[in-house]
Amino acid sequence: MHVLSPYRPDLATVQEVIQETATIKTLRIVFDDQKKMQSFSFRPGQVGQLSIFGVGESTFVINSPPTRKEYLQFSIMRVGEVTHRLHQLNHGDQVGVRAPLGNGFDHEAMKGKDILFIGGGIGMAPLRTLLLYMLDNRRDYGDIMVIYGARSPRDLCYQYELDEWKAGGVNLVLTVDNEFPGWKERVGFVPTVLSEESPMPHNRVAIVCGPPIMIKFVLFGLKELGFDDEQIVTTLEKRMKCGVGICGRCNIGSKYVCVDGPVFTRAQLNEMVTEL
């Protein structure tokens, strides 16, 4: 029997593992089916479900951009059972992948605009895919500013490519929560750094992802700066199972984060019930 099953993953193999921080690893994987790898396309911000067969499945953003097709990249914070096992994977190990799922960022609508990325901790992962997509289509976008914060310098991901971001014309503002020996960048919480930088809202889109408390105060800060709700984009997380809008658990009111999201504008969130 072969039926159309949205639950059956494709098999893929880990090509490279990068230890980003003490609790975050990045996996670079390729589909075992070469044709699938070649034809695979997605939008920045779409997610995938990674499987360890016998343990389970969890959802992560594909944080490599669709413009770079050698591998799919996922950054995984070790929190629960599945992520614990994903951290044990080595080069050559197999995983299951169901991707792409969800809506992704509307990068077409952002063309010609200035862009402000605001990321905290692992929240930088979904921003990275869009950032690199924009760097690969640099002329389509205006000024790009990235405010990226972590608890300490040791908790910053993607340190090995920050120079590439800068070389692409990114105004990169890094911050950590507290002073740290040898740290020459900013010190302070992301919302504070945002108000110090005070980027102007005119013709700009702000894309925000991070821990809930950071998002809360960043949203407040953006409002102070004069950003409209339509100019603010975020990407949400929920516990998911099916990933295709059927199993019923990742809903916020009538919206399923797995198919209607995970990317929403603040204006869209305002229309939804208050159950985050």
Binding site: M1, H2, V3, L4, S5, P6, Y7, R8, P9, L11, S51, F53, G54, V55, G56, E57, S58, V79, G80, E81, T83, G92, D93, Q94, G96, P212, E237, K238, R239, K241, C242, V244, G245, I246, C247, G248, R249, C250, N251, I252, G253, S254, V259, V273, T274, E275, L276
Partner: protein, 355 residues
């Protein structure tokens, strides 16, 4: 299809079921032996006595959405080229078999209509459900008697609602008149004893007409979507309505329209299965995230979600369909007597007060 009407005398029923089960899997409602009060749908076996008078405690949803089912199997093998790695292979689950569910009620059939919309009409298609559904016939019984918890007419159905059914069974005193409602059902008609005579057909028509005239329940829910949204943040309301909820999950378990499920893995040695099983939005762990955050942390948010899903979110997503078939099972089964009709009805009051 007038020539396709058959008659099964009461004492021939088990013979008919036996004949049917030679060509397909037959499910019937039957009382469990140890507890006579519990009626549920089971695969038919010789000697089983179908319970066709009383409504089943647990509807037939498990025949189309099994309580536990394999989504696929996986087998690990040592990589012959590299002993440090295992390779995995995936296998599809066992194919479903042609099935007939005998003695479904119109409310149960209505539950499957919602399943069909959710699983088979997109945006994503669940082919596992679809394959099983395509092979399944619903033989539905005209409903002769409601009880105090029934309200099928309030949510678009009714005791003689044929929607979603393939065979239509009308009880007349000493037997059942059965007609095929579509071509899918024709191939089993020959197995159903003798053709019905004119008297039997006339008696059936009368029973059907009487059933069609009954209006079961008086809940009005055409405004429930907007009423619900207005009540959403009124936690006092939810405390009043569901403060006594125990989060036991029986309402979702017995509900013909509750389809929410979990997916988990089971592994034994080098082989295992990914399993889909019924889940309940009444459980704390349903939405619990690995970080410890839970968007529906108490019974109130969870019960609110159940009402919202059925009377607001499903109608919004799926062309106005109400996610409730009015069977009344959640009302009968609730250990603390929560009545979904009362909860939906009272949504409205504040809306009036505000206006």
């Amino acid at each position: 299809m007038g020539n396709a009407i058959r008659y099964i005398a009461l004492d021939k029923l088990t013979r008919v079921l036996g004949r049917l089960s030679e060509i397909l899997d037959v499910w019937v409602p039957t009382a469990s032996e140890e507890k006579k009060r519990l009626v549920r749908f089971m695969p038919y076996q010789a000697g089983m006595i179908p319970e066709l008078v009383e409504q089943s405690t647990l509807g037939p949803k498990g025949a189309l959405l099994p309580q536990v089912e394999s989504l696929f199997r996986f087998i690990y093998e040592k990589d012959p080229d590299d002993a440090s790695h295992k390779r995995v292979e995936l296998e599809d689950p066992v194919a479903p078999k042609p099935t007939l569910i005998f003695g479904v009620r119109p409310c149960d059939a209505r539950g499957f209509l919602l399943f069909d919309r959710v699983f088979s009409a997109g945006p994503h298609i669940d082919g596992l459900y679809g394959a099983r559904r395509d092979l399944t016939l619903l033989a539905t019984l005209v409903c002769l008697e409601e009880d105090a918890a029934c309200f099928c007419s309030s949510v678009g159905g009714g005791p003689a609602d044929r929607q979603g059914s393939d065979l239509w069974i009308t009880p007349i005193g000493d037997g059942y008149v059965v007609e095929a409602l579509n071509d899918r059902a024709l191939h089993v008609m020959d197995l159903l004893e003798e053709p019905a005579n004119e008297l039997q057909t006339a008696a059936a028509t009368k029973v059907q007409q009487e059933a069609a005239e009954r209006r079961v329940g008086n809940l009005i829910c055409d405004q429930s979507r907007s009423n619900f949204l207005q009540r959403f943040d009124d936690l006092n309301y939810w405390q009043q309505m569901a403060g006594q909820c125990l989060s036991c999950g029986i309402c979702t378990f017995v509900c013909p329209t509750c389809y929410c499920f979990s997916i988990t893995d089971e592994l034994k040695g080098m082989r295992g299965e990914r399993i889909r099983s019924w889940d309940s939005c009444m459980f704390y762990t349903y939405t619990l995230e690995a970080s410890g955050h839970n968007p529906r942390p108490t019974r109130l948010e969870r019960y609110r979600n159940r009402i919202g899903h059925k009377f607001s979110y499903i109608p919004e997503k799926y062309e106005g369909i109400i996610g409730c078939c009015g069977c009344g099972r959640c009302i009968r089964s609730c250990p603390v007597s929560i009545d979904i009709r009362k909860v939906v009805e009272n949504l409205e009051e504040k809306a009036h007060a505000c206006a």
